[in-house]
């Protein structure tokens, strides 16, 4: 089945997206096998988008049981399923969206899996992990040479980290006769240049090789190259980046907890902020703890921490799913390597860490 070409029914069903990425890409989607760790609200969105898109097989692992608070961010479950494993409660409705996709569920703790069990996946997606867990899944991903994406939502804010290891993707850009094989930006190279004509206009199609960094090896080298002066750093680096990285560094694990019990220890949190400013070679003055404005911002940030919020889930889930699809079909550039959703300002900057 998997090697056959698309059926007429599939072509009709996926018509509007085949017109975007082509038949061959749709076929590679059908042959893909994806893992989603943790069915948080943003996990739900990623699952929805990938299932609609027609990937081959989707495995979802989460050992948490459905709580009342989940009802406001999971549209695959009903109230009377509270207490069941989240994945079991959701399976039927996920499958119902697209019967062609093979949906598998697993209600073990993903940390208990043997490393061999990850081998069959083409991409590993995870949501709601903290730093220690991201480091662990990234280690597995590196060991097996499987690209990984992790993301989370904290109220109106969000976070995405991609470690796609090393990949190739085609992009279409304006024609430029001076373009040469070689550096494209700090973390990617042009390895091939094709010329194409579209509606009488000449374009370049570039094959880009993208290199990603391990979670454990993130540092401030690229930020320093891009923004050498402190002034530039203050202007260009959204402090939300440091805030979220520091939130993930908290010792306590919050995913799956009752939101009323999520209490962020402010002293520990501020310590992580200082550590991260050091780690990424940023001036301590980037964040002024004594500033009244910052204090107000901090309070809102803390209130939003570990809250699921549907609009943010929808955005982060859309961006992550598109990065997954792009990675499979080798088109467009995935986030390299961190993006944050700043819900206060409707912004999504990308940083090279």
């Amino acid at each position: 089945m998997s090697d056959n070409s698309l059926t007429a029914d599939e072509i009709s069903l996926y018509d509007r997206q085949i017109r975007l990425w082509g038949m061959a890409a749709q076929k590679s989607l059908r042959n893909s096998n994806i893992l989603v760790i943790n069915m948080s609200g943003v996990g739900v969105e990623i699952i929805k988008n990938l299932t609609l898109g027609g990937i081959g097989k989707l495995t979802i692992i989460d050992n948490n049981k459905l709580k009342e608070q989940d009802l406001n961010c999971n549209f695959f479950v009903e109230k009377d399923q509270i207490g069941e494993f989240k994945v079991n409660a959701s399976k039927l409705k996920i499958q119902d969206m697209n019967p062609r996709v093979k949906i598998e569920i697993d209600n073990r703790n993903w940390e208990d899996l043997e490393i061999e069990e990850f081998k069959k996946f083409q991409i590993i997606i995870s949501t709601g992990l903290n730093s220690r867990q991201i480091s662990k899944i990234d280690g597995i991903s590196r060991e097996l040479n499987i690209p990984m994406i992790t993301c989370c939502v904290h109220g109106i804010n969000g976070f995405i980290f991609n470690d796609l290891i090393k990949n190739l993707s085609w992009i279409k850009v304006e024609f430029n006769e001076n373009r040469e094989i070689g550096e494209f930006n700090l973390v990617s190279n042009i390895v091939k240049i094709d010329e194409i004509m579209e509606n009488d206009n000449k374009f370049h199609k570039l094959l880009i090789e993208n290199k990603f960094r391990k979670w454990d090896e993130l540092n401030g080298k690229f930020l320093n190259l891009q923004f050498p002066s402190d002034k530039k750093k203050k202007k260009k680096i959204n402090i939300l980046l440091i805030m979220i990285l520091s939130l993930l560094d908290m010792n306590e694990e919050f995913y799956g907890k009752d939101i009323e019990d999520v209490v962020i220890d402010l002293e520990e949190f501020k310590l992580h902020i200082s550590e991260n400013l050091n780690k990424f070679e940023l001036p301590q003055s980037l964040i002024e703890f004594e500033n009244e404005k910052f204090d107000k911002y901090l309070k809102i940030f803390i209130r939003n921490a570990y809250c699921e919020y549907q609009p943010s889930n929808s955005i982060i889930g859309g961006v992550v799913a598109q990065d997954v699809i792009n990675t499979i079909v080798q088109k467009e550039l995935a986030i390299n390597n961190v993006s944050i959703l700043d819900g206060f300002n409707s912004e999504m900057p990308i940083y090279i860490l």
Partner: protein, 586 residues
Amino acid sequence: MAVDSYIKKMFGEKSSQFADAKVLLVGAGGIGCELLKDLIMMNIGEIHVLDLDTIDLSNLNRQFLFRHKDIKQSKSKTAIAAVEFFNYKSKLYAYHGSVLDTNLFPLSFFKQFNIIYNALDNLEARFYMNRMCLYLNIPLYESGTTGLKGQVQPIYPYLTECFSCVPKETPKTFPVCTIRSTPSKPVHCITWAKDFLFSQLFSNEDTNTQEIDASEFTNEEEAEASKKEVNELADLKKIIANEGDNEIVIKIFEKIFIADIERLLKIEELWKSREKPSFEQIKDYDHFFKDINKEYLTTCKDQSTLEEILKTFASSLLRLTDRFKNNENIEFDKDDEDTLFFVMSASNIRSLIFNIPTKNEFDVKQIAGNIIPAVATTNAIMAGFSALSSVNYFLENDNINRVVKSKMVFDSSSTDKVVNSSKLIKPNPSCSACSIVKGIITIDLSSTTLGQLRDKLIEKYNYGDDVEIMTLDSRLLYDFDLEDNLEEKLTNFINDQTVLLINDSDEKFDLIELYVLNSQNSEIILPELNIPLKKIKPSENENDENDDDDKLLVDNEENNDIKVTVSLDDDDDLVEEQPPMKKRKF
């Protein structure tokens, strides 16, 4: 713990702002399904969903509330039914109908909403909703996507750019002579087959009414040839109505693909710098017309052989002829196989004659049907930003603060951001929609005289002397010369939904537009309007520079409390990308 635990923690007391709101979602398609889900999970009090469309198979790759069994059902009603199991806090209402239908949705219908979210797929409805929101002064969250591109624009009437402030790109059109005489691309042949040939043969409109403008052709000879084609096609229509199958196919084929081309070949000027059309590739046509069949070949969608092309032409022509004879009103529809196959095969025959590459069904359907690529992810992202951006509406107490905090969002192709965000921009002072302040007047037309209306206007808006009252279609109802009308009841002049223009006789205040809502036994209720001072036309300004300076100053001050231009960074090496207004497609 409760269903709304997260929202309570995030927004505290302000959570009730969401619960108390009543919003309208216009469109339950790609963005609409996503937005409906987002709004429900934001626990908005009342959500009304409006759509005229029914569900199609090709919607199911992204409109996640619809299933195979729902095909042909109403989008709005199916969507509302589909979300019910995960809806805990919102009251939901579905309407199946066109937003443009004033019987179903009079202006008074839109009046009840705090915010309107647009999730539309066409410009006409977008412009219309934009106007409605201007009359009602309701914030409009506008959004759209095409493939991986998309944008969200919050519109706060008269404070920010409205949907009409920036001209929109109209669909690309081709010169008449390219389509009719000198095609060089597949799209030219497809346009010819669909807009000229198909409509000439099967449309019920009188073909002779279509005038040809000679100036659009290379020379008079060409215009004359074209005119002849049209007249003869009218004759062919008679053939279709009266003759047998084989005659129809042969006669029509020889007329449009042989005789008409021969006529073009005689106009030498056309071929001086172009390759001449040639019959070489189709010369064996009669061989394929020997056994004509109304059943399509199984491989007809490929269009890779002359046989596939010609037999598809014959079959589709005959099938359409049968339908035509049954008095069916046939219109081109990309999902109507006969019409699509006819356009596909006819355009491919023309392509063979003009030595242009032929196209298969998939490609012809896209071009002829104006199909726009669409994916779930972009819709989810843009719906998410529309919903997220509107959070400012609920958290802030007045429109000025809402405007300052809201952003316009659009796709980005640069590697340093996932989306572009820009602050909202002030309205374009020469915008055809929002440069004239609008409002609604509620009035009992049968019991109120024109004089009473005039007096009320002068009293409410502090006009210095007198006003002129006109209708939008330029009928003058009252000025100081028309005193006689003052005693007459308004029913003698205007109806419900008439739009009135009120002009200040002193020329101090700018024109305003009032939309009439007729309401029996109602007092005259005039809207609260912030009427700007009369704008000075640049040409007049040059002549008497000093004269109106103080007026201008006041004018500027009024607008100054919302300084909402894009801020430019001083030491910025990256120029902020501007919204893709001009290339915006929907």
